[in-house]
């Protein structure tokens, strides 16, 4: 059981770092937002693993809150992407690296 739990936490860590790599490497804002989703999902997986290891429901409750937060975050993020497209005609995050006051 404990070896399984370690492997499950390891999977959550791998997924989290894949998402982090995506955020750091990609410059396309849509891909960056998707990578953030992967990271949130990995955090939720870690919560579920913990809840399963202790047999408590708290981990599942936390995943529900993560889902709500991800929904709010994605809606605002996608609206920002649409604004970026309207203003700069580009989905490159580097196109907004200058503040124009």
């Amino acid at each position: 059981m404990t070896i399984m739990t370690e492997q499950e936490i390891g999977l959550a860590a791998i997924l989290f770092f894949l998402g982090l790599t995506g955020v750091l490497v990609r410059r396309n804002v849509i891909f960056m937002l998707m990578s953030v989703e992967v990271m949130l999902n990995a955090a939720g997986l870690a919560f579920i693993v913990g809840g399963s290891a202790w047999g408590k429901a708290d981990g599942q409750v936390m995943l529900i809150f993560i889902l709500a937060m991800a929904a709010a975050e994605v809606s605002v993020g996608l609206a920002l992407i649409i604004q970026l497209y309207h203003k700069f005609k580009s989905d490159d995050a580097d196109s907004v690296d200058k503040m124009s006051g």
Partner: protein, 184 residues
């Protein structure tokens, strides 16, 4: 349970890798959905069927559809028809289809291998001890009721923020109200 977990874990990692390294946003999204489905299977194996269903419905269903809508809205390039044709070639969808089929076979195997004697009972020895939705709901509306209300605030703020950010700049036709260098 072990081998099922390993298969789903490999599928999740491979799909996430393909998502990160993908060029086309829609194809990457397809792989992201597969990754979410694989994680959902792992949730089911861990004895959390309620959040496994939520993951499929909300994450892979609603949020990813939002992504698809935005990607399609932003497809401003003129070669949309060419891309549409490219979507229909088998080379594009065969990858996600194969690994999703593996996930489907896993689910069927779990359902068939040991039919539970009572509906709603956990399938013994495949799924870890199950935490039922009733327990989750009871905890959600007693101990965590404050956080539920806070997440309602958060969602309301998300709706208003998305509406505010998503609207286009207003075009005013009166010459005195026109902004300097603004849209004409």
């Amino acid at each position: 349970m072990n081998i099922l977990f390993y298969i789903s874990a490999v599928i999740a990692i491979v799909a996430t890798l393909r998502m990160i390294t993908g060029k086309n946003a829609v194809h990457a999204l397809l792989y992201l959905i597969v990754s979410l489905l694989a994680v959902s299977v792992i949730f089911f194996l861990l004895g959390a069927p309620f959040v496994a269903a939520l993951e499929v419905i909300i994450y892979a269903g609603a949020i990813m559809v939002l992504f698809v809508f935005v990607i399609m809205m932003l497809n401003v390039s003129g070669d949309g028809i060419k891309k549409e044709k490219a979507l229909l070639t088998p080379g594009i969808w065969v990858g996600p289809s194969i690994i999703t089929t593996v996930l489907l076979l896993e689910m069927v195997y779990m359902l068939v291998r040991q039919p539970s004697p009572f509906p709603g009972q956990p399938i013994a020895s495949i799924v870890r001890t199950e935490v039922t939705p009733a327990v989750v709901g009871a905890l959600l509306f007693t101990k965590y009721i404050l956080v539920v209300e806070l997440s309602a605030f958060l969602l309301a703020a998300g709706i208003i923020g998305a509406y505010h950010l998503g609207q286009k700049e207003k075009v005013s036709h009166h010459r005195y109200l026109k902004k300097e260098g603004g849209p004409v």
